[in-house]
């Protein structure tokens, strides 16, 4: 983190002095200037520390007078996030307000208006509502409305609060958070690991409550899944232990590692050591350590040579997470596909382009010195192939690219590997669009301004190119009087995408046209009660309206609709991939996608179909297939969806009731 220079502190002191010396008349004006100093100070850790120390004095001097923050006992924790999103100067005042409450909670300052206990519980509430900032993983909506600088301020504030506050009151909430993040089985586990480390450091988890036990599962999965790793806490000690272990001990170790990995989706840094030892000396125990199902065991037996080679070549303590991906690949019989095997063999042999190598290395935080960028890329490829629904866009506006990687991984794994090879060696990619070859290196900037490197290696390699090509395709097909996605999606993602395209937004009349008809088509195509009971075969690239937790229109987002099914209570739900790293969102109107507990596979989000439909603005389908089903859809269902749409994002549009021929 950048340090704040002395000059900034001097400027602050001067401004603060001006503020104190001002009469009530010009205090608001001086406060504005002071706020611009607070703005800068809140960008760095030492700046925040400094502000924290000054917060009581600033409060006493009346910085909050005449503002919404003046009575700390009347503040509402729920509103903090909204204020942070508004940006400077509101966010700067908000940050200062949190800091003074922290000072009151910790007893560093006393306030006549709020007790330490109340300040503490206020901040706990604030924490619970703002974990996205504490974990530096903003939702799509947040990223849409906040500038990079404002995000940095909020990240910084919550990082500071987390380190300075007594967290006891949020223990359960954090435990739940860990469980739900891991339930989504993300490829990039940094956020989960940070949270687990935080809970491990800050709480006594040795008790017997349900929460303690649940949290320990995750802590153990990372730190010490087995007896051996509990007793030998350094990599070197554990290696020595493995060399001397007998077969019984090794079996117990393998079972333990396998169990924890499968239960949490997290791989411990000792796991690679054990796995390599087993591959070399006791291959029959490899399935135990990967917790393979019957299909997986058969796959391992058939392809153990290649798999062994890959394991010996790739896995390392820092590159450990790919072991989970490998076990999933084996469980899905991916190695039985010749193109996948050949692709992986080819990938092993390539020479990385220097730029690509740099990008991969930049995405690693503590890379193992003896593991090359190519090995990380191989590990990354295995992760993506094993966990197609674990792909995320990171802190980047590239949902389309993430959606593509996920889709190819599921339905065209060899094509994906091929693409990785091309880009990794050439730092270039060519895709064809309507008789035109688009070469990513020759294209101008895409949506991406600056890549956030908190991504898996495959995304780090591919996204910059996919983003540019996608953007170019959008440009080439704009101005045709219809949503460009109609042409772009099938050509970008491939022949799995159906060619008919429905959008509720009409370009020519700039309105929402025949919304009921639009939803009727959607239900006739996908709702199992009305479409003749057919299931979806391939993912469907769907455009949705992102709405705030008040239901207000915020922006557009790309997701993949994966399947529509009844859950165990008989409710028809849409299951989809939200390439945003966090599937759980709050879109207002009680529409909150869930990731767990409603029949979701790891990585899927789900919503009741009416709620989902009420956020869709465009999807692909086959117009020949819906003939005969359109009339099945009852008007009452359409009315329900229409009502949800009209009273949320629909308020931002003109509605045209004319019928349209779909």
């Amino acid at each position: 983190m950048l340090e704040t220079s002395e000059r900034v502190f001097d400027n602050f002191e001067q401004s603060f002095k001006d503020f104190q010396e001002a009469t009530d008349l010009t205090k608001p004006d001086k406060a504005t200037k002071l706020a611009s100093q607070i703005d800068i100070l809140s960008l760095t850790r030492d700046g925040l520390t400094y502000l924290y120390q000054k917060s009581g004095a600033l409060d006493k001097a009346g910085i909050f007078e005449g503002t919404a923050w003046n009575e700390p006992d009347k503040l509402v924790p729920y509103l903090v996030k909204g204020t942070l999103k508004v940006g400077h100067p509101s966010s700067s005042f908000e940050i200062l307000s949190e800091l003074r409450l922290l000072a009151y909670a910790n007893g560093d300052y006393q306030s006549p208006r709020i007790s330490a206990e109340d300040a503490q519980s206020f901040l706990e509430e604030v924490m619970v509502h703002n974990l996205e900032f504490a974990l530096k993983e903003p939702t799509e909506e947040t990223r849409n409305v906040m500038s990079e600088r404002e995000l940095k301020k909020s990240f910084n504030l919550f990082g500071f609060i987390v380190s300075e506050i007594d967290l006891d009151g949020v223990y359960q909430k954090l435990a739940e958070e860990i469980k739900l993040i891991c339930a989504q089985r993300p490829i990039v586990t940094r956020k989960a690991r940070e949270l687990i480390r935080l809970v491990d450091e800050r709480f006594d988890t040795s008790g017997d409550t349900k929460t303690d036990k649940q949290v320990r599962l995750y802590i153990n999965a990372i730190n010490a899944p087995s007896e051996g790793s509990k007793q030998h806490t350094s990599i070197e000690d554990y290696l020595v232990f493995l060399q001397n272990a007998d077969i019984k001990t090794l079996t117990a170790e393998a079972d333990a590692f396998g169990y924890y990995m499968n239960a949490t989706g997290l791989v411990s840094k000792y796991h690679p050591l054990l796995l390599k030892k087993l591959v070399q000396d006791h291959p029959q125990l490899v399935p135990n350590s990967l917790d393979l199902n019957d299909r997986g065991i058969a796959e391992w037996e058939k392809f153990h040579e290649l798999v062994s080679t890959l394991i010996m070549e790739i896995v390392s303590p820092d590159n450990c997470q790919c072991i989970y991906g490998l076990s999933r690949m084996l469980g899905k019989n991916l190695f039985s596909r010749r193109p996948v095997r050949v692709g992986l063999e080819n990938l092993r042999k390539i020479k990385l382009n220097a730029q690509v190598e740099k990008r991969i290395i930049k995405s690693l935080i503590h890379p193992d010195v003896d593991v090359s960028a190519l090995q990380y890329l191989l590990g990354g490829t295995i992760k993506v192939l094993g966990q197609p629904l674990g792909v995320g866009q990171g802190n980047n506006p590239t949902c389309q690219s993430a959606r593509g990687i996920s889709m190819w991984s599921q339905h065209a794994p060899a094509k994906l590997i091929d693409m990785i090879i091309t880009v990794a060696t050439q730092n270039n990619l060519v895709m064809r669009f309507e008789n035109r070859d688009l070469t990513s290196n020759l294209l101008l900037k895409g949506l991406l301004e600056k890549l956030d490197y908190n991504l898996d290696p495959v995304s780090v390699v591919l996204v910059p190119h996919l983003d540019k090509i996608y953007n170019e395709m959008m440009k080439l097909s704009s101005g045709r009087g219809e949503d460009p996605h109609k042409w772009v999606n099938p050509l970008m993602y491939g022949q799995w995408i159906q060619l008919s395209f429905a959008s509720c937004y009409d370009y020519l009349s700039n309105s929402i046209l025949d919304y009921d008809g639009f939803i009727r088509v959607f239900y006739a195509a996908f709702h199992p009660s009305y479409n003749g009971g057919r299931e979806m075969v391939y993912p469907n690239p769907v455009g949705i309206f992102i709405t705030s937790n008040k239901g207000d229109m915020v922006g557009f987002h790309a997701i993949s609709l994966l399947r529509i099914d009844k859950d165990k209570h008989g409710e028809v739900r849409a299951y989809f991939l939200n390439p945003n790293n966090e599937g759980r969102q709050d879109w207002g109107q009680e529409i909150k996608p869930s990731v767990h507990g409603h029949g979701e596979k790891p990585g899927e989000s789900s919503l009741p179909i009416n709620q989902f439909s009420a956020r869709v603005y465009a999807f692909h389908y086959n117009h020949l297939d819906i003939k005969g089903f359109l009339q099945n859809v009852p008007a009452s269902e359409l009315a329900e969806v229409s009502e949800l749409a009209k009273s949320s994002w629909g308020k931002s549009y003109f509605w045209n009731q004319q019928s349209k021929i779909w």
């Binding site: 220079s5 009469t23 008349l25 010009t26 100093q37 960008l43 500038s147 600088r149």
Partner: protein
């Protein structure tokens, strides 16, 4: 006369008795904050709203001097001061500041260099003026026309100011509402302004403001080059004071300095200048320029009080203070974004930028340079670096 919180604050700090005269809109605030206040409809002149009536109202406060803070209160203050000083010419002098043609004429008679100027009443008048100017400049066929500026007789700063570079420009840019107004030839030279604090007819303190880009940015004190001309400038300012017969107050003349060290007089005002100039002056010179502005108007002030309020005669500021006013560059924008480079800029002090209302669009009409969205203040030791910074940040887009 006029509502200004910073001036009220300075008066409070000074401990001098005062009363604010301004529009009724400000009365509730004044009452709430115990600010002595006389509510007056300053934009109305009638049997019941005039200086004699106001004079009566102010008697209760024992007023003996009126200080105009804004362009629109200059005549009011002039009228009142005429009564207080028993000198009807004080009012006429106020008119001098409010009519740019009269102002120029006075300067010309007194021997200051001014451009060619004339009152014009319509587009034809401007064309005739430009034609005569072309003749005087010995224009040959095919050569460009001489530049002409038109400005309203009485408006602050750059409001209503148009630069006409050709006959065609006159048709395109002039509107019927512009007339009558003043037309004048384009003055060559480097433009800057002064703030001259005057008491008993003498310039007591002279601030020179370096205009980096008129309407956008300025800094104080003047940079290296202008500093070498300080004596010359002071001489001309004192001459202006003498010609106009100004005894008390502060004037804010604009000048053009040519390469031959000749000073052309542009225009002058006698109220608080825009662009936060007095704020910058206070910071750089280390004195309360607003308090000084008010005190200078007082014929009864003592020499000691004057000496106390102004910086020492041989004092030269350690730091240059400058600001740049930020206008959005796009027509539509939704976010305020402070660029990272500004945090790391050693000269940066503070800003007063505010975020736009959600998806704000700029409206078409802008008076003068329009309302800026806030100011960025800089402070540093090198005037050249200051110039560079101010020019740079004027082009940075803070609103996206």
């Amino acid at each position: 006369m006029g509502w200004s919180l910073p001036v009220i604050e300075s008066m409070e700090k000074l401990g001098k008795p005062y009363v604010v005269v301004s529009f009724p809109d400000f009365e509730p605030y004044a009452q709430e904050n115990n600010i002595p206040f006389v509510s007056y409809q300053l934009d109305e002149w009638s049997d019941s709203s005039n200086s004699l009536d106001l004079f009566e109202k102010l008697k209760a406060f024992d007023v003996d001097v009126a200080v105009p803070l804004y362009e629109e209160t200059v005549e009011w203050a002039g009228a009142l001061n005429s009564i207080y000083r028993g000198d009807p010419r004080v009012l006429n002098r106020a008119f001098l500041f409010r009519n740019k043609a009269m102002m120029k004429r006075k300067a010309l008679i007194g021997g200051l260099r001014v451009g060619l100027f004339e009152e014009v009443y319509n587009k034809e008048g401007v064309k005739a003026f430009m034609k005569r100017l072309n003749q005087a400049n010995l224009q040959l066929d095919g050569e460009e026309d001489s530049w002409v500026h038109i400005k309203p007789f009485a408006a602050a700063g750059t409001v209503g100011h148009r630069l006409l570079k050709s006959m065609a420009d006159i048709d395109e840019k002039c509107e019927d509402g512009d007339f009558p107004c003043l037309a004048e030839s384009h003055l060559p030279g480097r433009e800057f302004s002064c703030e001259a604090f005057i008491n008993k007819g003498k310039v007591r303190f002279l601030n020179i403001t370096e205009y980096v880009h008129l309407g956008y940015s300025n800094f104080i004190p003047e940079g290296h080059y202008l500093k070498t001309k300080r004596d010359l400038i002071l001489k001309h300012v004192q001459k202006l004071v003498d010609i106009f017969g100004i005894e008390y107050g502060m004037i804010h003349p604009e000048w053009f300095l040519t390469e031959n060290d000749e000073l052309n007089f542009g225009e002058t005002a006698c109220r608080i200048p825009g662009g936060h100039i007095l704020e910058l002056a206070s910071k750089s010179w280390g004195f309360d320029a607003l308090a000084a502005f008010v005190l200078c108007h007082d014929p009864n002030i003592t020499e000691e009080e004057l000496d106390e309020i102004f910086p020492d005669k041989d004092h030269w500021p350690e730091n240059y203070h400058g600001n740049v006013m930020i206008y959005p560059q796009k027509r539509q924008f939704s976010k305020l974004e402070i660029p990272e480079e500004l945090n790391n800029e050693p000269y940066f002090v503070e800003h007063t930028l505010v975020p736009p209302l959600s998806s704000q669009k700029l409206s078409g009409d802008r008076a003068g340079f329009g309302n800026h969205f806030g100011t960025i203040n800089f402070k540093g030791e090198d005037p050249d670096r200051m110039t560079e910074l101010l020019l740079h940040y004027e082009t940075v887009d803070f609103y996206v």
